[in-house]
């Protein structure tokens, strides 16, 4: 019926425009919140969630107790929930929508038989054609012979039946990656102070250390998940350049990160579940401790320093130059983040070769974007005599060049201009690196001059 008819029946109804995007975001937030029960959470359609609670149920006092708690909390948050428990996703789907008691394994056929065909996740037209033949319940479809069904109504119907009965494995694809190792702590009284969270991180890291030691690994990426009582989840990630498992070092990194995120984490009424998860780990070489019990050496010191800076200011805070095989100056070196392995990271990345005296002179500082300059120069290929840069006039006292750098034809477009670089020194003794892009005469566009770098 249209809005007009509805208004005619009830003049005081409230009409709100549908926002599928907002609904989707809400569902995703709920899925994130359900992470507290199990990491395997998937979104079903536009209004459902799958939770795979294999192996998690005992933490909450049994499967049915867990179900009750879940429904209770969701209704506290203001949602109208229908939850169902089943041994297969199909059975659970049907149990949720038709309010069945928990369906154990082996009981699927019996539980699903009396339900109408909408309990199977099949298309509407397949359902309509089944009903037109007279098969109206799941039980009647199960009783019918399989081969004619497949031939007449298609393979998906048979697959859905098998999935519902558990004859075929169906796995849900979880939204978030499952952590290899995690330690968590529930609180009866929610915590909200940063010092408490940091102390908790130390405690959880100490718990993780034992497991990591047994595997001979250290953590490379860690994630701290803070679950608020009212349903919001904050996730704080920290990366390290070397695998580490010392609790106090992990605690220091999180301290930096939490200091940087001071204003962004809103504790609300407090967090009642805190989980520290190891998202990726790597082998660690065990070093023999000396008598002082101190194994940190100089390079580890530096790695820890870089990790703390990156935790506070972001991943690109500490960079390492990596030389690349390229004659174009701005591509000859790239800045890589500290701790990533640069060797073999990409095509053309090589170990640095010592620069010989015969290689052309290169400036000490390079501008990321060459700045345009107005130049008076001898035509057609002479060095500049005067140039105007950043609102100041510079008179050239000496010039060296030109050094011709052609574009890399295998990377750039066919009409990329050639550059002629000049080292110039002005009267005060400042040395610059200018280039002219293009040639005078012959080319379609007038060549332009740019300032690319500064020499010592």
């Amino acid at each position: 019926m249209g809005i007009g008819d509805a208004r005619a029946m009830h003049p005081s109804i409230d009409v709100v425009e549908a926002e599928p995007e907002a609904d989707r975001r809400l569902l995703e937030a709920l899925a994130d919140w359900c992470d507290r029960y199990t990491p395997l959470v998937a979104i079903d359609g536009t209004d459902g969630l799958y939770l795979d609670i294999t192996g998690c149920a005992h933490l909450f006092g049994g499967e049915e107790a867990m179900l009750e708690e879940l429904v209770c909390r969701l209704s506290d948050q203001g949602f109208d929930t229908r939850a169902g428990l089943g041994s297969t996703p199909g059975a659970a789907w049907a149990a949720a929508r038709f309010r069945l008691p928990p369906v154990g394994s082996g009981e699927e056929a019996m539980a699903l038989s009396p339900l109408p065909l909408s309990a199977l996740r099949i298309d509407r037209d397949v359902r309509a054609s089944l009903e037109s033949v007279g098969l109206r319940t799941v039980g009647s479809v199960l009783a019918a012979p399989r081969a004619p069904l497949a031939r007449r109504f298609g393979r998906p119907l048979i697959i859905r039946l098998d999935q519902a009965l558990g004859r075929v494995e169906e796995a849900i694809t979880p939204r978030l990656p499952v952590a290899a190792l995690s330690a968590e702590r529930h609180f009866a009284e929610p915590i909200s102070h940063t010092e408490d969270i940091e102390r908790l991180v130390l405690m959880l890291a100490a718990t993780l250390k034992g497991d990591l030691e047994r595997r001979g690994e250290g953590a490379r990426r860690l994630q701290l998940a803070l679950f608020r009582v009212d349903g919001a989840v904050s996730r704080i990630g920290v990366g390290t350049s070397r695998p580490m498992r010392e609790p106090r070092l992990i605690g220091r990194l999180f301290h930096e990160r939490l200091t940087a995120l001071e204003g962004d984490i809103d504790a609300g009424y407090g967090f009642d579940l805190v989980r520290l998860a190891v998202l990726s780990s790597a082998r660690i070489e065990d070093a023999q401790t000396d008598l002082a019990g101190d194994t940190i050496d100089a390079s580890e010191d530096l790695a820890l320093f870089a990790d703390r800076i990156r935790a506070r200011l972001g991943d690109n805070a500490v960079l390492v130059p990596v030389m690349v095989e390229s004659h174009v100056p701005e591509r000859a070196t790239i800045a890589a983040t500290f701790g990533e392995k640069p060797w073999g990271a990409g095509p053309g990345v090589t170990k640095p070769t010592p620069q010989s005296r015969n290689s052309p002179e290169r400036p000490v500082r390079l501008f990321r974007d060459p700045e345009p300059v107005e130049v008076t120069a001898e035509l057609p290929e002479g060095p500049p005599a005067r140039f105007h840069w950043r609102r100041a006039l510079h008179r050239v006292a000496a010039a060296e060049g030109p050094e011709r750098i052609a574009p890399e034809w295998w990377r750039d477009k066919a009409d990329a201009p050639t550059r002629d670089y000049f080292r110039v020194e002005d009267e005060a003794g400042r040395r610059y690196w200018l280039f002219r892009e293009g040639f005078y005469g012959g080319a379609k566009t007038f060549p332009r001059w740019f300032m690319h770098g500064i020499f010592a």
Binding site: F305, I309, V318, V322, M323, A335, F338, V364, R365, R404
Partner: protein, 329 residues
């Protein structure tokens, strides 16, 4: 201090006991084996390694070393100023020369950290590893950069880095005279540099001198480079080794000086440039001209033509030597 007093007491008590056991006077006991340079007998170790006994880094330029009282103090904060942002290249070049000397002295190659704000890297350019490796001997494996958006973050990184003895030196580059970098902040940096035994170079572009806790302050301005020297003599119109006009603003010996130094990238060392107009102590003897010259109109002198000639634009013919080596595009 209290810890030291307690330690001294303990050591004193032990010496008495040992003396009694050995049947000698406590004063006659041998002191701890002292290295010749450590007269006090106390050796400070970092990670089991005692840092070099010399406190100064000789810059290689006698006049500079003399004025500084021996050289650049290694475990201290040093300030290098530039008067304008246009001089950023010269200031950075001098600082990198000092860094190159420091890196050359370290046997295991320790990395160098260069911290700067986005503002200064945008204005003066980002450090270019190819040029640094070629001219100053700082290899890309031993170089780390850090670029931050805010000055407070750059200062925080510098303070944390100044504590590490795993770095060869820390260079922090700023612009102007911000209030955040006041006397207390520089004193903190200086103390941390002293404790770690590593130098911290504070580069200020477009700044005026203000009181800081640094032991040494240099004010650097650009200087014209001497032409390249070839077998046939200096190549006119060429640009040779980089040169800087260094004024010592503040040093331990309270002397100031101004001189022109050049950086020799072959030897990775500084050299002093002799000023071009050296006056001879004894004038060359020349035949006396007839003093009573014919009076006439006095025309203007031509000033010393050497300098101007050296600065003149090279003509096309002179480029022949380096023209031949130009690759076809």
């Amino acid at each position: 201090m209290a810890v030291h007093a307690v330690a001294q007491e303990t050591i004193f008590g032990l010496r008495q006991k040992i003396a009694k056991i050995e049947g000698r006077l406590a004063e006659r006991l041998d002191g701890p084996a002292a290295t010749p340079s450590e007269a006090a007998g106390v050796v400070l170790r970092h990670h089991g390694v005692a840092p070099a006994g010399d406190f100064f880094l000789p810059t290689g330029v006698d006049a500079l070393d003399r004025t500084l009282g021996g050289g650049l103090p290694k475990a201290a904060l040093t300030e290098i100023h530039g008067a304008e942002t246009r001089d950023a290249g010269a200031v950075a070049g001098f600082a990198l020369g000092l860094a190159g000397l420091i890196v050359k002295g370290n046997k295991p190659a320790l990395p160098l950290l260069w911290i700067g704000t986005s503002e200064i890297f945008r204005e003066a350019g980002f450090p270019y590893a190819v040029g640094l490796a070629r001219d100053f001997g700082i290899s890309p494996e031993a170089l780390l950069y850090s670029e931050t958006a805010k000055l407070a973050d750059a200062l925080w990184i510098a303070e944390e880095a100044a504590r590490l003895s795993a770095l060869a030196a820390v260079i922090i580059e700023l612009r102007g005279n911000p209030e955040k970098l006041d006397l207390t902040a520089t004193r903190r940096l200086h103390r941390r540099a002293q404790e770690a035994g590593r130098p911290v170079l504070l580069i200020r572009q477009a700044a005026s001198a203000e009181p800081t806790a640094a032991l040494v302050r240099f004010v650097v301005a650009p200087a014209p480079a001497a032409p390249r020297s070839t077998l046939a003599g200096p190549l006119a119109g060429s640009i040779g080794s980089p040169a800087f006009t260094v004024t010592i603003g503040k040093s331990r010996s309270a002397l100031t000086g101004k001189l022109i130094v050049e950086w020799n990238s072959h030897d990775a060392a500084f050299q002093e440039r002799q000023p071009p107009n050296t006056r001879r102590l004894v004038p060359l003897s020349r035949p006396r001209k007839d003093l009573a010259a014919a009076p006439g109109t006095v025309v203007a002198f031509a000033p010393a033509a050497d300098e101007i000639a050296a600065r003149r634009q090279p003509s096309r013919q002179q480029h022949a030597a380096d023209r031949g080596s130009r690759r076809a595009g």
